[in-house]
Symmetry: C2
Amino acid sequence: MGREVQTPEPVAIVENRDGAADMLLVCEHASNRFPETFGALGLSDDERRAHIAWDPGALGLARALSVQLDACLVHATVSRLIHDLNRPPHAQGAMPAKSEVFDVPGNAAITPQERLARTQAVYLPFHNALHAEIARRIALGRSPVIVTIHSFTPVYFGNKREVEFGVIHDADPTFALRVVEQARALTRLDTRLNEPYSAADSVTHTLRLQATPYGLDNVMLEVRNDLISHPQAENEMAHQLAPVLRAALSELQRGRHRSL
Amino acid sequence: MGREVQTPEPVAIVENRDGAADMLLVCEHASNRFPETFGALGLSDDERRAHIAWDPGALGLARALSVQLDACLVHATVSRLIHDLNRPPHAQGAMPAKSEVFDVPGNAAITPQERLARTQAVYLPFHNALHAEIARRIALGRSPVIVTIHSFTPVYFGNKREVEFGVIHDADPTFALRVVEQARALTRLDTRLNEPYSAADSVTHTLRLQATPYGLDNVMLEVRNDLISHPQAENEMAHQLAPVLRAALSELQRGRHRSL
């Protein structure tokens, strides 16, 4: 099946596996690492540090939330430009030739065999690892809420974005609506539903692949990356969002109880 | 994580991996093997040969279809009573304490750790293997229709079933409707939509887990097992159903072309 592909470290890392929270945090765009096997795709150092390669601040925020909520976190160790783990392998955006205003030369003339090699080396191991964590909890009788954690750039195609905290749902808005409600009650963040993206932009693949088949509640969170630009800011944001997620989850569980 | 679990042979077997058909056949209930690790669950030899342990005839039919259609086939090597691969790990029916009129003693007082061990040893490897085959095709630009192949008992809770060929869909009935249409045009089988089961009976887990997240067309086929009770009958049934599936697929593809 073409050339052999190996990455030197696991594509998925699981932290706080035995966390007590009924919540599983996922960070698909945690890293801007370009494994040697695939190379730098013709990008400059600056481009590989830019938001096109990863979601800056998202891993720090996710880790702080994992600690504060005592929740398991699964995060990736490979740049989204090698394989965007929140896109199916055949999607244009899984290995984009252009991201915002940046060309990605190494993705411009990608062969089917190269697409397959990245799918097998990056996409499948990451989603298998996440699936294993979800199946483990389900088998033990738990129903974790799946929360994916992302960041977005404050200026996109030259336009400034006002939204600070975006809450995005796929087919089932139940948990997202509770998160918005609690964020507005407990924080001063400019919180919006389905901004700066929505499921119509094909950004909910992980939720569809991993949460929906098991009927698990789920949500995608987007934080503007200038608000989490250094470790202290990531921690402070986690201090704002942990109570929001905790309250949303307990509202959800109370609601379920009442309806029994 | 409790006792170590090993099965002596792979849980999933892939045949005709490079088959040319835009169709992927799946047979979750192919085998009535009870690996030593899990034992016979307190069942007699007769019970382990009965329809509660597997779908008799389904593997033979699936293999003949794989050859006649030149389609890849993924089938399981472990009894559905150890872990029903067409049910999520937490479902009662994944490791049922009672199946039709039969008690399954080894499933009666199953601990959470035992449920987890079976999930990790049987459910996850099977679905990872199937997922890998699907992702491989998608990465290469193909869109396989997912077809699961089952058999059902002619007498259930004492009631005789008239239906011979059941065609079951999940949320999207597109392909199922074409299969029913072609079966009625090309065969004399008593063909019915969503009989003897439907998605409401929670029998479409594999379709939901593997096909729906990728937007792949899909269907579940059920053949009455007295019609495929020996190898010649399995082959003859495949000779009836292969043209039905081929015609349904080409109708589907023609429809897609027209709408472009």
